[in-house]
């Protein structure tokens, strides 16, 4: 579904990603690991059109998406869920979710997706009219994921969903992500606590100093 080949990304003149290549097949759950500041988030953001790619190829659903702005990617079915959530603090939970279905294609499925989100996170249904600035970290992460789902995506790029969450919340969060994957959603995830995803991941890439390595199954066992 997604094929990234040899992309290079720079912040000003600082070379962040070196010839990075990854691939995600339809229905897979693929994880990216690596130490802080080595380029995991950058990889996801670059794929999702939020930062420019200097060179290399990105193919999503058989179409090159290098240089496409985020809006067109979202309508194509690729949505990014940010590590820092990026909720709209002075809007309600419901408004945040509705904005996830901003584009016309997603709007057609808005009602169904909203039900799905509330099914997945019943807590959000209770808090639908609450302002997002008053939510706890766990709830905010639910809104972020739910908002991504509202875009009716084919693939979600989820950036460190456990960031700042207590261990029990992390576990609950990752469970819902696995559940989503089981329903058929293709997911590319940046995550540190892979132990919780043991047995669910199809492939792991590790990034070190901006260089991507495929982790073999042996190594994967070690990591876990």
């Amino acid at each position: 579904m997604l094929e990234v080949t040899d992309i290079n990304v720079f912040y000003d003149d600082f070379h962040v990603l070196h010839n990075a290549s990854i691939a995600v097949e339809k229905g897979e759950l693929v994880a990216v690991i690596g130490a802080n500041g080595h380029g995991k988030s950058t990889l996801l953001k670059a794929v999702c059109g939020l930062i420019p790619v200097k060179n290399g190829g990105i193919i999503f659903k058989q179409r090159s998406i290098v240089g496409s702005p985020a809006p067109s990617l979202v309508s194509n079915g690729l949505v990014y869920v940010a590590e820092d959530r990026r909720l709209f603090p002075d809007m309600t939970v419901l408004e945040n979710l509705q904005l996830g279905a901003f584009l016309p294609d997603a709007r057609k499925h808005e009602r169904r997706n909203l039900e799905h989100v509330f099914e997945l996170y019943p807590r959000l249904a209770e808090r639908r009219d609450q302002l997002c600035r008053t939510l706890s970290g766990g709830e905010a992460q639910m809104v972020a994921l739910g908002r991504g789902l509202m875009s009716n995506p084919d693939m979600m790029a989820i950036d460190e969903p456990s960031l700042g969450l207590a261990p029990n919340l992390t576990e609950a969060m990752l469970k819902t992500i696995v559940a989503l994957n089981k329903e058929g959603m293709t997911i590319l995830i940046v995550e540190q606590s892979l132990t919780l995803l043991k047995g669910m991941i199809d492939r792991v890439y590790s990034i070190e100093e901006g260089v991507v390595k495929t982790t073999s199954s042996n190594e994967l066992q070690e990591v876990l």
């Binding site: 909720l87 709209f88 901003f102």
Partner: protein
């Protein structure tokens, strides 16, 4: 007693027009963090377009002039956002640079209309005359219309921002730009839209106030400064804040004019502003960081 009511109502009518000017300024700041120093020049531009159509060259009725002026103003706003403001976005000093560039634009527009129409003041006849007397209180029909039109426009903007999906997107952009763009909201489009809306609103205010305050090349600076004070008092970027602050200051202005004279309006406004800012450095409704 009736006199106090009269002053109060006059102040509210005036406040509604100030609202129209200030809400636009605040909307643009809220969405794109741009302080548009040419806002007052767009106010004058509105007046000049209407004068050109009604008095100067065509003798059209004023309502038709409104209908023609609105799309022209909208195009001006969107065009300027696209050509002048957008290239600066993301550059290192963009905050100071946008202030500079909008000030430059203001001078271009002010001197442009002066070259085209001369330095003298112009006026448009009010579209309705007569006075309404109710229980000893007199109010001119024109002020009532002014109030209705202004409030109607501000109300529609409020409705748009609160209840429509695109309006929600505008608010989303003002709260988190990256968050908005990763949902597929076209942030640049929102910037252009808000800029266009702001120009239309301030231009309409310029037309509405033309029969009272006259039109002149530098005539926009007064209303602009007032809008400034309103916006800061209400909290930069908060349209709700601008709305309430406009009425507070409009009423204050009416009383100051009656009891102390028109020269003391601005000092009185500034005293209120400084007092409020000392207590709430972000204005009445300001919540945004930086």
């Amino acid at each position: 007693m009736t006199q106090i009511f009269e002053i109060l109502l006059g102040g509210i009518a005036q406040g509604a027009v100030y609202c129209l000017i200030a809400v636009g300024l605040s909307l643009v700041y809220g969405a794109s963090r741009i302080l548009n120093f040419a806002h007052g020049s767009f106010y004058s531009l509105g007046g000049y377009i209407a004068w050109f159509l009604v008095v100067g060259y065509f003798n059209l009725p004023l309502w038709l002039a409104f209908i023609i002026a609105i799309p022209i103003l909208a195009l001006c706003g969107i065009g300027i956002e696209y050509l002048v403001i957008r290239p600066l976005r993301g550059s290192a000093n963009w905050k100071i640079n946008t202030i500079m560039v909008t000030l430059g634009l203001a001078f271009i527009m002010d001197n442009g209309v002066q070259i085209l129409f001369g330095p003298g003041t112009k006026t448009i006849p009010a579209f309705t005359e007569g006075i309404l007397t109710l229980g000893g209180i007199t109010l001119s029909y024109y002020k009532i219309w002014m109030f209705v039109i202004s409030l109607g426009l501000v109300g529609s903007l409020g409705y748009f921002l609160t209840y429509t999906r695109y309006g929600q997107a505008v608010r989303a952009v003002s709260q988190d730009i990256q968050g908005a763009s990763q949902l597929g909201i076209n942030v640049n489009q929102v910037y252009a839209l808000t800029f266009g809306l702001a120009v239309v609103m301030t231009g309409v205010a310029g037309i509405l106030l033309a029969p009272i305050f006259l039109i002149s090349p530098l005539g926009g600076w007064g209303p602009f400064l007032k809008a400034f004070v309103i916006v800061v008092l209400g909290g930069l970027g908060s349209t709700k804040g601008a709305f309430f602050a406009a009425f507070i200051l409009g009423v204050l202005e009416a009383f100051v004019i009656f009891y102390l004279g028109p020269n003391l309006v601005m000092p009185a406004w500034l005293v209120v502003l400084v007092a409020v800012l000392m207590v709430r450095p972000k204005g009445l409704f300001g919540v945004w960081e930086n």
